[in-house]
């Protein structure tokens, strides 16, 4: 069965690159360009894993995480959420992990293939 990954990322260029890499790896991908769209797709697309940006319009990463927790439907599915962000302050990382994110990566410090490794690791 093909694994479904939801990308929640407002930067179009980065989103395109994620998509290109992950599709090539054989995943089914859906995109959300802001937090609100992401929350909607959590229900319609029903992803197996989520890659989430932190700074986004409408609903930001932290609010996204807490809404996912609050909604019984999405909370029950418990798809792993990985944060990929350029916000690197320790306080932000701690907040995200407290809200249930599985891991936190700084975009600038990680390569696409490293990212794919992590995704595969969390889908096992």
């Amino acid at each position: 069965m093909v694994n479904k990954i939801l990308l929640v990322e407002d930067d179009q260029v980065l989103a395109k690159l994620y998509q290109a890499k992950l599709k090539r790896e054989g995943f089914e991908i859906d995109m959300a360009y802001d937090g609100q769209e992401g929350l909607d797709k959590m229900k319609s697309f029903k992803p197996d894993l989520v890659i989430l940006d932190m700074i986004m319009p409408k609903v930001d990463g932290l609010a996204f995480l807490s809404r996912v927790n609050d909604d019984p439907e999405t909370a029950k599915r418990a798809a792993p959420i990985l944060i990929l962000s350029n916000l690197g302050q320790e306080s932000d990382i701690k907040k995200a992990m407290d809200l249930g994110a599985k891991d936190f990566f700084i975009k600038a410090d990680i390569s696409l293939s490293e990212m794919v490794e992590k995704v595969k690791q969390y889908l096992k």
């Binding site: 260029v13 690159l17 290109a20 350029n86 690197g88 700084i106 600038a108 390569s111 696409l112 293939s113």
Partner: protein
Amino acid sequence: MKLSYKIYILFAVASLFTVLSVFGVTYYLTRTILVSGQYAAYARLAEISAKRIDYFLSEKLSSAKVLATRPIVYEALGGASSARLSQIRENLQESEAADQHIYGIYIIDRNKNVVVSTDKNPTAGKVPDLSVQEEILRKIFSGETAYSDLFISENTGQPAMIFAAPVFDGRKNVLGAAEVYITWSEVLNILKDINVTFVHLINSKGLEIGSNIPEHYGNILKEDYSNKPAYQKFFADIQERTAQVSIEKDLHTNSEVVSARTHLFGSYDYKGNGWMLVLEEPVDAVLGPINRSVANISVYTLLARLLFLSALLWLLKKYLLNPVTAYSDISRRIVAGEKDLRIPESRKDELGMLAREFNSMVDKLQKSNEDLEIKVAEKTRQLQDEVLEKELKNKILEDAKKSTLNLLEDISLERAKADALVNELNKFQLTVDNSYEHIIFTDPQGIVIYANKAAEKITGYSRGEMIGQKPSLWGNQMSRKFYKEMWNTIKAERRTFIGEMKNKRKNGQFYMAESNIFPIIGKDGEIKFFVGIERDVTEERKLDEARVNFIAIASHQLRTPITSIKWIAELLLSGDLGILNKEQADLVGDLSVSARRMIQLVNSLLNIARIESEDLNVNSEAVNLRKVYDSIVREFEVSAKSKKLKFTFINETGMSDFKSDYNLFYEILKNLLSNSIKYTLEGGSIETRLSVKGDSIICAVKDTGIGIPKNQQDQIFSKLFRADNAVKVSTDGTGLGMYIIKNLADLLGGKVWFESEENKGTTVYVSLPLSGPLAHEGSRGIIDVR
């Protein structure tokens, strides 16, 4: 206080005391007399009423005795014919009609048969009311008179009494009894006549046998008082011959009444039946009028006394105080100059004596005064002579004076100079007053004695509000330790204190002030006052902060597009999108390296922003020296190998761990090694040596690199500075490494220095305290620059 006032007050107090006590005594005595008078009146009324009843009843006993002596009665008992008996009956009926209170006459023989009676329906021979008659006839037949208590007659159903007397023959033998039945109405009339609210006549068994209230007539011989506590009390004291009066509970309603009680002792042969008469009057009806009249009497006597006392006071003033006042008036006038005035000596009493003594004293005084005046006149003449002599001497002095005046002219010149100095001082004060910087002077205790206009503007308090207060009025926002240190510097060490402190304006707004505070020492070596000069640097600090934040935000934003470039290069190089030819692959490789360098630069800038914002986390933890070193060297493995560099690690400390912040120390050592690797040419060596000196650990990184030109060594810790030779050797430097090392070492409580010779090599030393850094809770950590 005037004597007269004292007397008035004394008099008033004494009078008031007597008047009030007399008032109290009067009130009490008057009331007691009136009450006992009223009680006596009730006692008399009770006694008189009792006597009236007794007289009436003894009269009826007499009627029976008279009846017993009548010949017709004797005849009837002597066996008269029935015709004669009916004549006798008629005769007796006439006697009965003559007395309205008698309603039956019976003549009874020794066989206890009625011989003749006035009864309208005579039951032949049978004695009525047998139960009562039994006792009466027993007494009669033994030759005594007899009477009944009050009882209810069988024939009439009404209360009645029997009075009986024995009928004797010539030899004093008892032939029978002569009896009269009387009605009770007369006794009730007597009771009704008594002018009190309640009257009760009670028999020896405690049953009511009479009252002044017609409604109670039905209670006769039915109402039983024997169980009432009041009744029992009455009977206990009724043995007294006189009537008793006291306040008691009413026999019926339990309300309080004035009660007068007496026994009915009987009269002549009628010895009474052990009855008791009780008169009752409600307490208010008796004592109310008494209390009112007592109050009236007391008030009138009080007024009379007050009037009397006022009169007395007036007399006292007229005959005693007025003369004294007059005397003092006269003596005042004598003193004022009316020398011939004297007090009249006409009075014969002590005041007259006083007047005579006073007058003789005034006479003596006036005489001695006149003597004195003569002496003064003499003395004055002598003085005038002396003055003339002095005038001569003055002329001699005149010359001396002129020369003095010349001297004074010189002095006025000096004074002009002093004025000029004051002028200068005024200018100085003007300058201080209008200085842009906040200036205050305090006394040695820290009380503000001067503040300039800028101080008013910055703190928001007026000079009036500041002077007399301590500067804590607007300060007091820093830790206690800070102020302790400040006072120690300026007071104990007497040095200038320089520091930045947070203060609070009058409107509650906070501001940052750069302060210079120093003591002014007097010639005696004591501190005279403190001078505080402050500059409001709030805006500058805000700008600094804005700048740091700008760098942080800008750097974050920069990272995103660089990430895109890096990832695109990665995708292209991976061959996923088609294999690149060699030239393309080289260029995309360069692109990837450039992107990585840009990320390094941004990360370094971010670190600097974090260091400068003073918001970095500092921990104090065990740091393993070897582990840090190894993991850094592993990071640089590729470049180190390509340059064939030789690495040495020497630990002379004898410790595997030391106390510091792992991340920060890692960053310091990494920057040191990164610099050495970057600026050491192929085949060179890099030695890392750790040693202990004093209470510090020293980390020295020594390389055989290009060194730092002598003329640029003093700029090496500046931000973004790169030495000329460094720029030539490597384009891959940011000029931030040494700046970061220096700042991080500062944060850890340490120092950085170096020794360097161009083209020979450089040794950079970092010393850190063995006791570890002061831990600091910040919101950010350092970024590992890759």
